[in-house]
């Protein structure tokens, strides 16, 4: 089951190795614009994420970072620009005159299978046990045989340190445990890309570490990740790139060291001084 180059005890080993994105550039967002009514929340945002890259997006609240993340799997519509994941346009198809037409719901669902997402508030399914949460989408969406899904689900639970909790309902778990299961749930779909939307900001301080550990492990094993987070330690340790957004614009991007230690833009300096 384990793909070459993946340690047997690793997270991605549990799902048969690093899922292979089909292209070198996994996410290619070009001049994305989005309005909420008259509020221009994304202004010509262009970001590229390469295979096995970990990109951390920072910025003050209301800067559009979460909205941008949600556009990548089309939980939000965009008004202009293009977002390609795995080389395929997300959420839309090109109409003749260069206009975008929203894609069929079925196609959007198909594309989302390749994009795992972890939410700030976990959003585990409360009527299902930990294991049922994880095997639900593989069985329903991918059509994986139940025994196989259960085996993968158990392996994932083991890797996130929650093997003992497989038949426990989410309301009996701590926030940190719920978030780790949410990560396992997303991984069970063997996504080529993982999106993390402030995965630790709803957690009590003592539980942040356990979730970040899982995310770091995932990054080290070569998962392509976009993380909206203000966890500096995490960014310094595993991020290839930090993107600073403010007021719907990408203000600055660079390695964690460049952005955190010697920011070029004043807006970045002001923001960093506030969160440090």
């Amino acid at each position: 089951m384990t793909a070459p180059g993946t340690a047997p005890g690793s997270l991605l080993g549990a799902i048969g190795g690093v899922p292979r994105p089909e292209t070198d550039v996994v996410v290619d967002a070009r001049n994305v614009n989005k309005w909420f009514g008259r509020l221009h929340v994304l202004k010509d945002v262009s970001i590229q994420v390469k295979r096995q890259e970990v990109v951390v997006v920072i910025g003050p609240s209301g800067s559009g970072k979460t909205t941008f993340m949600r556009c990548i799997n089309h939980l939000e519509k965009i008004q202009s620009g293009r977002i390609f994941v795995n080389g395929r346009l997300i959420g839309y198809r090109e109409a003749g005159s260069g206009k975008l037409v929203e894609d069929k719901e079925k196609n959007i669902a198909l594309q989302r299978q390749e994009i795992g997402m972890v939410f700030q508030r976990f959003n585990l399914f409360p009527h299902m046990t930990a294991l049922e949460n994880i095997i639900e989408a593989p069985i329903q969406v991918r059509g994986t045989p139940r025994e196989e899904a259960v085996a993968v689900g158990r392996a994932l639970l083991d890797r996130v340190g929650l093997a003992a909790k497989e038949s426990v309902y989410p309301n009996q778990l701590s926030g940190g445990q719920q978030q780790r299961i949410a990560i396992a749930r997303a991984l069970a779909m063997k996504p080529a890309l993982m999106l993390f939307d402030e995965p630790t900001s709803a957690l009590d301080p003592e539980m942040i570490g356990e979730v970040l550990e899982v995310m770091k492990e995932l990054a080290r094993e070569g998962m392509t990740m976009i993380v909206v987070s203000h966890e500096m330690g995490f960014a310094r340790e595993v991020a290839n790139r930090v993107v600073m957004m403010d007021d719907g614009v990408v203000v600055e991007e660079g390695t964690p060291d460049q952005v955190f230690s010697s920011p070029k833009q004043d807006r970045t300096k002001v923001f960093l001084s506030k969160i440090l």
């Binding site: 799997n73 939980l75 719901e105 079925k106 669902a109 198909l110 989302r112 299978q113 994009i115 795992g116 997402m117 939410f119 508030r121 959003n123 585990l124 399914f125 409360p126 009527h127 299902m128 046990t129 639900e136 989408a137 329903q140 969406v141 991918r142 038949s167 426990v168 309902y169 989410p170 309301n171 009996q172 778990l173 701590s174 940190g176 949410a182 749930r185 997303a186 779909m189 003592e206 539980m207």
Partner: protein, 302 residues
């Protein structure tokens, strides 16, 4: 005498006295013009005739089928009302508007007698193996169900809206389609909100079937009504009919509370499911899930 009693004592006591006077009047009135024959009452409860048993079965059967139909239609009407596609919304809204805005009695008469008289549609007799359904029973059940669907639509819609939007987003982000999201994620959670009012709807349904007497359906009420017409024992027989209905609704009440407890699985107040610690229910109810978990399995110790 009565007036002076009212003015002197509190409202509650006055009401009590009023009730006693009313009962006394009824009984004394009865003794002059109407001789009560208690055996009609007791016999129809403890030795029910085949007609009564049949009526009971029909009432129960029609209620269950009509309610089932109502729930299905209610789900579709609720989804229609919330659809992005405008024609679906329009259809759902018209359906709800019409069936909630007209009396059930009129709907029954119109779709059974009205349609038959105009030659538009004659309800058929359904025979299939051991099943034999008279046209009026079929019509009554379907119309009751369609009427019920209009009421269920609002209940289902409220249930769906009560589910955290984050649930839909999580399901979508896993690649689930709209149908899968609804069926597997949203509706099971909405069910918890829907079941208590649904139970009340079914309680109503059990009693509302008596309106099918206008179609000459021999359900419980009509059976007693006919018997009362034949024997003139209206007092005893309708009292017995009331007791039968009371029995049905009471049993349903017990069933309902069991279902609600089962559905509470995985919520803050529910039992902990198949593998969790099963403690005495009162502890959960009085102190909540947290208390019980912390003391039983040490989950609280983070």
């Amino acid at each position: 005498m009565t007036a002076s009693l009212f003015s002197r004592s509190g409202t509650r006591r006055a009401l009590l006295v009023g009730c006693l006077v009313l009962v006394a009047l009824t009984v004394s009135g009865c003794s002059k013009t109407y001789s009560v024959r208690p055996q009609f009452f007791w016999d129809s409860l403890f030795h029910p005739s085949p007609a009564i048993v049949n009526g009971l079965g029909l009432t129960l059967g029609i209620s269950v089928v009509a309610q089932f139909l109502g729930v299905i239609l209610g789900v579709f009407a609720a989804l229609g009302k919330m659809a992005k596609f405008r024609p679906f919304r329009t259809i759902a809204n018209i359906y709800i508007w019409v069936f909630r805005g007209t009396p059930l009695l009129v709907q029954l008469s119109f779709f059974f007698y009205g349609f038959a008289t105009a030659g538009l549609f004659k309800w058929p007799t359904v025979t299939s193996g051991p099943i034999y359904i008279l046209p009026e029973v079929l019509a009554g059940t379907v119309i009751l169900g369609v009427n019920e669907g209009a009421y269920m639509a609002e209940i289902v819609r409220a249930g769906i809206l009560a589910v955290d939007p984050g649930q839909t987003e999580a399901a979508k982000s896993l690649g689930m389609t709209y149908g899968q999201t609804m069926r597997r994620i949203v509706l099971p959670q909405a069910a918890r909100v829907i079941v208590p009012p649904l139970g009340n709807e079914f309680n109503n349904m059990l009693k509302t079937t008596s309106l099918l007497s206008v179609l000459s359906v021999m359900e419980l009420y009509n059976t007693f009504s006919v018997a009362a017409g034949n024997s003139f024992a209206s007092f005893e027989l309708f009292a017995a009919a009331a007791v039968w209905y009371l029995l049905l609704t009471t049993i349903w009440g017990l069933v309902q509370s069991r279902i609600e407890r089962r559905l509470a699985r995985g919520t803050a107040t529910g039992s902990s499911g198949p593998s969790g610690p099963q403690g005495p229910g009162w502890r959960n109810r009085f102190f909540g899930r947290q208390y019980y978990d912390a003391s039983a399995s040490g989950l609280g110790g983070h």
